[in-house]
């Protein structure tokens, strides 16, 4: 396990940089994490991040399709907000583990 220092707090992350303790997350930390991905967080970004965190807490498996059905963004907008791998990148910024699909 590694530690990442953001805003002076030591965040526990795994080797890919995902939080291992989602309770260490807050919005300021998210802003810093997003900067590292060259993303400036807007209100829409935060709505998505909170959606992901809520679903994570409810143990709901996350998929791109599910975010697209969230009523917050459609899939195209999701890709625009978090270019590259939207679910992987947004989960990292939301301070939750990397979503993997089931086998």
């Amino acid at each position: 396990m590694d530690t990442l220092t953001i805003n002076k707090s030591a965040i526990k992350v795994n080797e890919e940089g995902y939080f291992t303790d989602p309770s260490q997350w807050n919005e300021d930390i998210a802003v810093e994490m997003a900067k590292q991905q060259n993303i400036d967080l807007s209100e829409k970004h935060f709505e998505v991040l909170h959606f992901l965190r809520n679903k994570y807490a409810e143990e709901v498996p996350l998929t791109i399709r599910k975010v697209g059905k969230s009523g917050i963004v459609d899939i195209k907008e999701f890709y625009k907000l978090f270019p590259g791998g939207p679910l992987k990148i947004s989960s990292k910024i939301a301070g939750i583990p990397k979503p993997v699909s089931c086998v």
């Binding site: 080797e15 291992t20 998929t63 583990p97 993997v100 699909s101 089931c102 086998v103």
Partner: protein, 430 residues
């Protein structure tokens, strides 16, 4: 008389019917099973049809052939479940009541979910092989195909038999090699996943195999639409892959009646929220869900259906007798992966343990290699057809333990084992 109703007479429904027929007192219980028609397909056989290994007729039988004598079978389509009133409404308008309901309506490919998939090229240069029709038409196409760009694409991440697309790629490689035109065929495997497969150790092994067989993997490609004019598939972030022949695994969805009954999961794929251990419906305690119809975080496969059946029969009997549901499903799945040229690999896993290498003990055929390509695994794959018709559907126990066993498995070394130390990671993502 009390009523037990089974919706769907596919793998899971037929198996549960046979199990219950042996266990329930007929003086007390009336069992009814419903399906749209009387045709049972051996779906795992669809994989072999495009390559002429099985003929279409090899995979079709009458559903009734597998029902116990005296079964009450209704041929009709279920329109809706009304869980608050214990009623099932059929398309014909007939209304059935139940004391206990088993939902086993499975999943089917829905190509209309993706723009352009069913465009002018559908069943000309674009095929699926997850349906009897698609697999049969693709066999004709491949017979005369002279080569070009073959693209295998998964539209979504949740599909039944998640290894079938990989097997298709391996068998295509062997098929074109044996035809002497492999050098004229470029095989691209285009997937929304980050690699050939989901879990790390199996992905590593399967990726190496893909490379060896010159199958090119395009990961992280989430299909937005199919361009029929320019013959290419386009992702949400604008990636494009050209094809001459597209073999698509369209979005897999549960039955429409799930949505009509307001039971769908929130991603609208019509999978039913189900307790992952007891197989009880999350809202209605007298409804149980089994097979591909559930939203369980494990593979949608016949083998899984079988393991679930062993748990479900116990829990239904407990429920009927007013006892707590003590049998717990662990997510056990066991899948052969046909790799071509008379060989296959095998994976065995559950909710918490990813597919690991090692040996899998099986009586008679005897130890099978896990995550290894062997001839004996291929024989196991072919034997599955016989086992399916004669043991699985008829509800017999198979010589494989219901809960996954670690016997013969090689646990990964410490550093590969990081996921284990972070259980919350695996838990959620399932």
């Amino acid at each position: 008389m009390k009523k037990l109703l089974i919706l769907g007479a596919g793998t899971a429904g037929t198996m549960m019917l046979n199990k219950l027929d042996k266990k329930l007192d007929k003086k007390e219980w009336e069992i009814t099973i419903i399906d749209k028609d009387d045709t049972h397909y051996y779906q795992p056989g669809f994989l072999f049809i495009p390559f002429g290994i099985y003929k279409p007729k090899d995979v079709v039988k009458s559903r009734k052939e597998f029902f116990p004598a005296g079964t009450h079978f209704i041929i009709d389509e279920v329109d809706k479940i009304n869980g608050d009133d214990n009623k099932v409404i059929l398309k014909s308008g007939e209304v059935l009541t139940y004391d206990v309901l088993i939902v086993a309506t499975g999943t089917t490919p829905v190509p209309s979910e993706t723009e352009g998939l069913m465009g002018p090229l559908w069943y000309k240069d674009i095929f699926d092989f997850y349906t009897f029709e698609g697999a049969s038409l693709l066999a004709k196409k491949l017979e005369n195909w002279k080569g070009g760009k073959l693209v295998i694409n998964l539209a979504e991440t949740t599909i039944k038999c998640p290894v079938a697309p990989l097997e298709f790629a391996f068998l295509a490689d062997a098929y074109f090699t044996e035809k002497g035109i492999r050098d004229k065929v470029e095989i691209n495997y285009v997937t929304p996943l980050s690699g050939a497969f989901t879990k790390p150790i199996a992905t590593k092994m399967l990726s190496q195999l893909m490379e060896k067989k010159n199958i090119h993997v395009v990961p992280d490609f989430y299909l937005e639409h199919v361009d029929n004019d320019l013959k290419k598939i386009v992702s949400y972030d604008g990636m494009e892959v050209e094809f001459d022949l597209l073999v698509s695994i369209p979005t897999n969805m549960g039955a429409d009646m799930v949505a009509n009954s307001n039971m769908s999961d929130e991603d609208d794929l019509n999978f039913i929220p189900t307790n992952k251990e007891t197989l009880q419906h999350k809202q209605h305690e007298n409804i149980f869900v089994i097979g591909d119809a559930t939203n369980l975080p494990t593979s949608k496969a016949g083998s899984v259906t079988h393991f679930e059946g062993e748990i479900l029969i116990e829990n239904i009997l407990s429920f009927i007798n007013g006892k707590p549901l003590e049998a717990k499903f662990d997510g056990h799945a066991n899948c052969f992966i046909e790799t071509g040229f008379g060989k296959a690999a095998l994976i065995d896993f559950n909710y918490t343990t990813e597919p690991l290498p090692g040996q899998f003990p099986i009586p008679v055929l005897g130890p099978m290699g896990l995550l290894k390509e062997t001839r004996i695994n291929h024989m196991g794959k072919l034997a599955f057809k016989w086992i399916y018709w004669h043991m699985l559907l008829t509800g017999k126990s198979l010589p494989v333990s219901t809960n996954m066993s670690m016997t013969g498995k090689k646990a990964p070394k410490k550093e590969e084992n990081k996921e284990k130390e972070e259980p919350q990671q695996e838990e959620v993502l399932l």
